[in-house]
């Protein structure tokens, strides 16, 4: 594997652990809220907004590429037997290229959306002031890496 491939893999793994961490925080926060309410009568008020704004988008999108690499995104496999030969190769490359272009578009659009929120200092008022830029940022991050993965696969791997 070449250098870029290695970096890409490292990036995917890092984001994946980021997603896992988000899930752990969700579980801990909600339980802390329940326990604190029960024991001390004091809720953990940031729980809801933190989960909805930051943790859910992060745990749902950061691992997009890692899941793709592991073959975790489902495809229909019962209509065509393995495509082989030149035709199969071309189809395989077109598939990753098309998906790559699609995710580039998602990355660009959601990225500029997040950037705008950063530049304008957009805030959601709540128990505390939540900077929205960071909430939006998970999407272009996850989609950006999967675009790289798809384009890399288009150029590199001999298609299936």
């Amino acid at each position: 594997m070449d250098g870029f491939g290695k970096i890409l893999q490292r990036l995917e793994d890092t984001l994946h652990w980021g997603g896992c961490l988000a899930l752990v925080i969700v579980a801990v926060l909600i339980n802390a809220d329940i326990v604190m309410r029960l024991v001390a009568g004091i809720p953990v008020q940031i729980q809801f907004e933190m989960t909805e704004l930051y943790l859910m988008p992060a745990l749902a999108t950061l691992s997009l590429s890692r899941v793709y690499r592991d073959g975790g995104h489902l495809a229909l496999d019962f209509m065509t037997k393995d495509l082989s030969g030149l035709f199969g190769k071309i189809v395989g490359r077109m598939r990753t290229l098309l998906a790559g272009v699609f995710f580039c578009a998602v990355t660009y659009m959601s990225g500029s959306f997040a950037l705008k929120a950063f530049l304008r200092g957009e805030i959601e008022y709540g128990v505390i002031n939540w900077p929205l830029g960071w909430a939006y940022a998970a999407i272009p991050l996850g989609c950006g890496v999967i675009s790289l993965r798809l384009l890399y696969d288009t150029l590199q791997k001999p298609a299936a």
Binding site: G41, P43, Q45, F48, E49, E122, I123, E124, Y125, G126, V127, L132
Partner: protein, 311 residues
């Protein structure tokens, strides 16, 4: 004939849609003899609640019914309507809002956001629904009250309760099972969630915050329309705003009667209780002022107070 795509986050069975949005579209189509037609996308079909304004600016939609509180980042001044303790009826609140949309900072803010305000109206003020009678401030201590949005959460805290965020679809179960002691809710939306099934006490004259809707058309789109169409839209808008406000106030009356017949305690706060609650909720307005800041916010607040203090 021109067809406008109109986005809406309410479902078509809600009174706001029946007597507001749908009625206005129909009136405009009639008055322009079909020169203007609408394609209606209710229930967030075209864009999520918080994305309606962006959708108009991006050309996904031509017009939209905005729930201004969903856009408090872009429309901070318009969030003044969310504050507790101001208008007492939908008619009063709508009159105030319409005046402020006709000229002044609320209008300018919408224009700056790229949209032309056509008409605006409010929901009747939020009331409290609970499993026990909530009167003066002492009754509210340490209760779990479902609120939506930061202003309401702060209102609950100002009253000594805890503001709890729970997604709309789960409120019913949460109240039924006692996770929540009470809910701040606009009465017109109670049947939609069937909350009357799970509470035993409903207030009718409280003012725990407001909610405003503004019908907007993209500025460029609006300016491209013939002058007579523009004035028809505005004129029908004024009529519909008054109409939907009145219908809502009336429906609150009939809903209250219906609930009473079902054995629910439908009650009014005494003047003393209202004054006590009003005092306790003062910090919410002070916080809003501090957060938004600036002369404009003061101006908006002053004119809103003046417009809603008249009986």
């Amino acid at each position: 004939a021109e067809t406008l795509r109109l986005g809406d986050f309410q479902s078509t069975s809600h009174v706001v849609s029946l007597e507001g949005t749908t009625r206005w579209m129909f009136a405009v189509e009639q008055a322009t003899n079909g020169a203007i037609k609408f394609e209606h996308f209710p229930a967030q079909q075209a864009a999520k609640s918080a994305a309606q304004l962006d959708a108009v600016n991006n050309g996904i939609l031509d017009a939209a019914l905005l729930g201004t509180l969903y856009h408090s980042e872009t429309l901070p001044l318009n969030s003044v309507i969310g504050l507790p303790g101001f208008y007492g009826t939908a008619v009063q609140g709508t009159e105030a809002l319409q005046k402020m949309l006709a000229e002044g900072p609320l209008r300018e803010e919408l224009l700056d956001a790229g949209v032309m305000p056509i008409f605006g109206f409010v929901l009747p003020p939020y009331q409290v629904l609970a499993k026990k009678h909530l009167g003066g401030v002492s009754d509210w201590k340490a209760l779990d009250i479902r609120t939506s949005g930061s202003t309401q959460a702060m209102t609950a805290r100002a009253l000594g309760s805890v503001g709890i965020s729970i997604p709309g679809p789960e409120v019913y179960t949460a109240v039924e099972r006692g996770r929540l002691d009470g809910v701040l809710f606009p009465l017109a939306s109670v049947p939609g969630y069937n909350l009357q099934e799970v509470v035993s006490h409903i207030s009718t004259n409280g003012s725990f915050g407001g909610y405003s809707f503004v019908m907007v058309v993209g500025r460029d789109k609006f300016e491209s329309l013939p002058a007579d169409v523009q004035s028809v839209m505005l004129e029908k808008g004024r009529e519909v705003a008054t109409h939907v406000a009145k219908v809502q106030d009336d429906s609150v009356g009939s809903l209250a009667a219906e609930w009473k017949a079902q054995g629910i305690e439908v009650y009014q706060f005494s003047d003393a209780e209202l004054a006590e609650l009003g005092d306790a909720m003062q910090p919410v307005t002070a916080d809003w002022m501090e957060r938004i800041g600036g002369e404009k916010a003061q101006l908006v607040l002053d004119s809103y107070r003046a417009l809603t203090s008249k009986k």
